[in-house]
């Protein structure tokens, strides 16, 4: 399939993720959008990896490298770690302000 389709899909997902982070008020929804962005990037990485693999196999080289697919695992690990820490912070936040509305997080003001 045309790589452009994968790119378009990934871009769309990424944009939706960004807009979600900016617009949504609920902290958990913001986290979901961050996950969305990360996964959009994952998708793109895998697609490009397959694209390169297809052209390499045509050249019949024995050194087939699929770096991008391995990198996806790195991203997933990072995402998992970040989610665990982030959710812990949100729980502490809820205990202090009894809400997960990010508009109440203006204690950094002044």
């Amino acid at each position: 399939m045309d790589i452009k389709a994968y790119m378009a899909l990934s871009l769309t997902l990424f944009t939706i993720g960004i807009i979600g982070v900016l617009v949504r008020r609920n902290a958990i929804i913001v986290f979901m959008c961050i996950e969305l962005m990360l996964n959009a990037v994952n998708l793109l990485l895998v697609a490009f990896s397959k694209m390169h693999a297809a052209s390499d196999a045509v050249k019949a080289s024995a050194t087939y490298v699929s770096d991008a697919q391995i990198f996806v695992f790195f991203i997933m690990v990072v995402a998992a770690a970040e989610v665990s820490v982030g959710l812990a912070i949100i729980v502490m936040l809820y205990r202090n302000t009894h809400s997960v509305d990010i508009n109440f997080l203006n204690r950094l003001k002044n």
């Binding site: 982070v21 900016l22 997080l105 204690r107 003001k109």
Partner: protein
């Protein structure tokens, strides 16, 4: 006499040490100690100067170079002293008369608190140090250090009683006018360095070096040097500071404005006589300016009523005579007149100080009179001074002044005529001063009459010594026409290369007889007008013009001072306050405003921060597309 060149540095350093001790210890030292320290260092310098004089007389001139003052790749200037016949004479004048004035001051200033007393002696010592540097200097730059130093000390001493604003403005006036002249001096020095690469007197005045200068160079340099001399020695147009400088204590006027500082210009030109002899245009300028100043100041003096102002204008006038001598190539006569003038003018200033002291601070001669009965020593010594300055035969002033007049006659009889007229005015106003102050009847108040007394020995002994010098001081310059050998001219011959026009003896006798007769007539006129002086009303008509000093001060005020003041105010209000301050404050205001706006970014809203992050990312992405 063993070689004294190793000790030359002591001559200026001793007064400097006196300055440091008295200056830094002024709060601790008693009046007696500070007076003794101040006077003793000058006495020591005087003794050394006497030894130097005899050494120079026997063995001739010598130079001493201490260290390299300025050392550039292509220009070297040493801190060097040149001791020759001319500087040794000036050394004697400065330290000798300086010592007498220091002794006089211990009595004159004894009413000051001890802190100010010590400060006074510190300033006086600093002045002597600077003046000694000036005359000892072996090149123009070292001379200029002393030149500036005496200007500074003049400012410090004139404004000594600084709590009175008119005194401080007189001090400012003196210093500023001096500085205007100094600009001319500096430009001449720069010109010399640019053209011949040296200012050392020995190297510069050698014929080989002088050949390197074109006629225009020489005229320009000498004119600029003369501008410096007009500032320092109070000639037209930079003379108005000297009468105002009488705001300082009287011994200061005697030392600085009669005997030493004002003669610095004449010393400088006499030292550079090789250069000036090659510049006939400048010499004409000097003669004309000197003569005009002599006449102008003499005309003002005949109508002044402050005893010190008369003497001040007399000084300006006599300096004019000295410059006339310099301009006619009669350098020896000018130096001779410096010497005799130092004697009798210092004598008369100190005498006036004695009078002011006795009158309890009064300086207006209309309130004096008949003081001869109460102050015999002061009166007689003052009379001797008047006779000397008028040029009565036998007194020192006669020989020096007649030599100047004879030299002027050799140049042009017209110059002689005007100079003779100025000399007659000199005799007239001096004897007017004498008769009004010391003869007639007392016109002051009763308390002043009770207070009248002769001054103590510390004041009268210097008077007597100076009176003796005023009488016998002419012996070193008796001209051949009268059977003398003119030892001074012979002594100065190695330094002063040119001589005045020589007149034959009959002409000289005629000139002497003419001037003596006219001077006696002038004295007689003064006697008959003022022997029984009754205080008159305010002057009218031409007398009023003379009394108001030909309105020169007012002219300077409107033509120079007020426009400059207005310019300064303009710069202050428009450019300084609105322009520069506005700009600097504006930067501050802009920073303030910007930071206030930026502060609004810190809303604490996490969402806003994330938005900014995203925008930043976008911008970087776009930029990397194009770069």
């Amino acid at each position: 006499m063993s070689n004294i060149s190793a000790l030359i540095w002591l001559i200026p350093i001793l007064p400097l040490i006196g300055f440091l001790i008295n200056g830094m210890g002024r709060k601790q030292l008693s009046k007696g100690i500070s007076g003794i320290i101040g006077s003793a260092v000058i006495l020591a310098s005087f003794i050394l100067s006497v030894l130097v004089f005899f050494q120079v007389k026997e063995a001739g001139a010598f130079n001493v170079n201490y260290f390299d003052f300025i050392r550039l790749s292509d220009f070297k200037l040493g801190f060097e002293f040149k001791i020759d016949q001319l500087s040794s004479i000036f050394l004697l004048i400065i330290t000798g008369i300086g010592f007498l004035i220091h002794v006089y001051s211990t009595s004159y200033m004894h009413e000051e608190p001890s802190k100010d007393f010590a400060k006074y002696f510190a300033y006086l010592n600093l002045f002597i140090f600077s003046m000694l540097l000036l005359v000892l200097g072996g090149n123009f730059v070292i001379m200029f250090i002393g030149w500036e130093g005496v200007g500074l000390c003049s400012y410090l001493l004139i404004g000594f009683w600084f709590k009175k604003p008119e005194y401080t403005s007189a001090a400012n006036k003196a210093f500023i006018m001096n500085r205007i002249g100094d600009l001319g001096f500096l430009l001449a020095v720069f010109w010399l360095i640019a053209k011949v690469g040296t200012t050392n007197f020995d190297v510069l005045f050698a014929p080989e070096t002088l050949k390197l200068l074109t006629a225009n160079d020489i005229t320009g340099i000498t004119l600029l040097l003369f501008v410096g001399a007009t500032g320092k020695s109070a000639q037209i147009p930079l003379y108005t500071w000297l009468p105002d400088a009488m705001a300082g204590p009287t011994p200061v006027s005697a030392l600085i404005h009669a005997a030493t500082m004002v003669t610095a210009g004449i010393y400088m030109i006499a030292r550079s006589n090789a250069l000036f002899s090659l510049a006939p245009i400048t010499q004409t300028v000097i003669s004309v300016v000197g003569l005009a100043t002599a006449l102008l100041a003499a005309s003002i003096a005949i109508k002044q009523n402050d005893i010190k102002k008369v003497l001040a204008y007399s000084t300006v006038s006599q300096l004019g005579f000295m410059f006339l001598a310099l301009g006619t190539g009669n350098y020896t006569a000018a130096v001779f007149h410096v010497l005799t003038h130092a004697f009798f003018k210092a004598l008369m200033f100190l005498g006036s100080g004695s009078v002011i002291h006795a009158m309890g601070g009064e300086q207006d001669i209309r309130k004096m009179g008949g003081l001869h009965k109460h102050m015999k020593i002061t009166s007689i010594t003052f009379l001797i001074g008047c006779l000397a300055i008028s040029g009565i035969p036998g007194f020192s002033g006669f020989f020096s002044k007649d030599e100047i007049l004879a030299g002027a006659y050799g140049y042009s009889p017209l110059l002689y005529g005007i100079a003779l007229f100025a000399a007659l005015l000199t005799a007239f106003y001096m004897f007017r001063l004498y008769f009004i102050t010391f003869r007639g009847s007392f016109r002051g108040t009763h308390e002043q009459a009770h207070h009248l007394h002769e001054s103590p020995a510390a004041m009268t002994i210097p008077l007597i010594i100076l009176a003796i010098l005023s009488v016998v001081g002419g012996a070193i310059g008796v001209p051949e026409a009268l059977g003398g050998k003119h030892e001074l001219a012979q002594f100065l011959a190695p330094v002063i290369k040119s001589a005045a026009h020589h007149l034959d003896h009959t002409t000289e006798y005629m000139l002497m007889a003419l001037s003596t007769a006219l001077v006696l007539a002038s004295i007689f006129a003064a006697w008959s007008l003022y022997k029984n002086y009754k205080a008159a009303g305010e002057a009218t008509g031409f007398g009023k013009v003379l009394q108001n000093k030909w309105y020169v001060d007012e002219l300077y005020q409107t033509a120079i001072v007020q426009p400059l003041s207005a310019l300064g105010t303009f710069f202050n209000n428009i450019i300084e306050k609105k322009g520069i301050d506005g700009f600097v404050n504006g930067v501050g205001k802009a920073v303030n405003y910007g930071s206030r706006q930026l502060r609004l970014l810190q809303s604490g809203q996490v969402g806003a921060y994330v938005l900014l992050m995203v925008i930043g990312m976008l911008l970087l992405f776009i930029i990397q597309l194009f770069v």
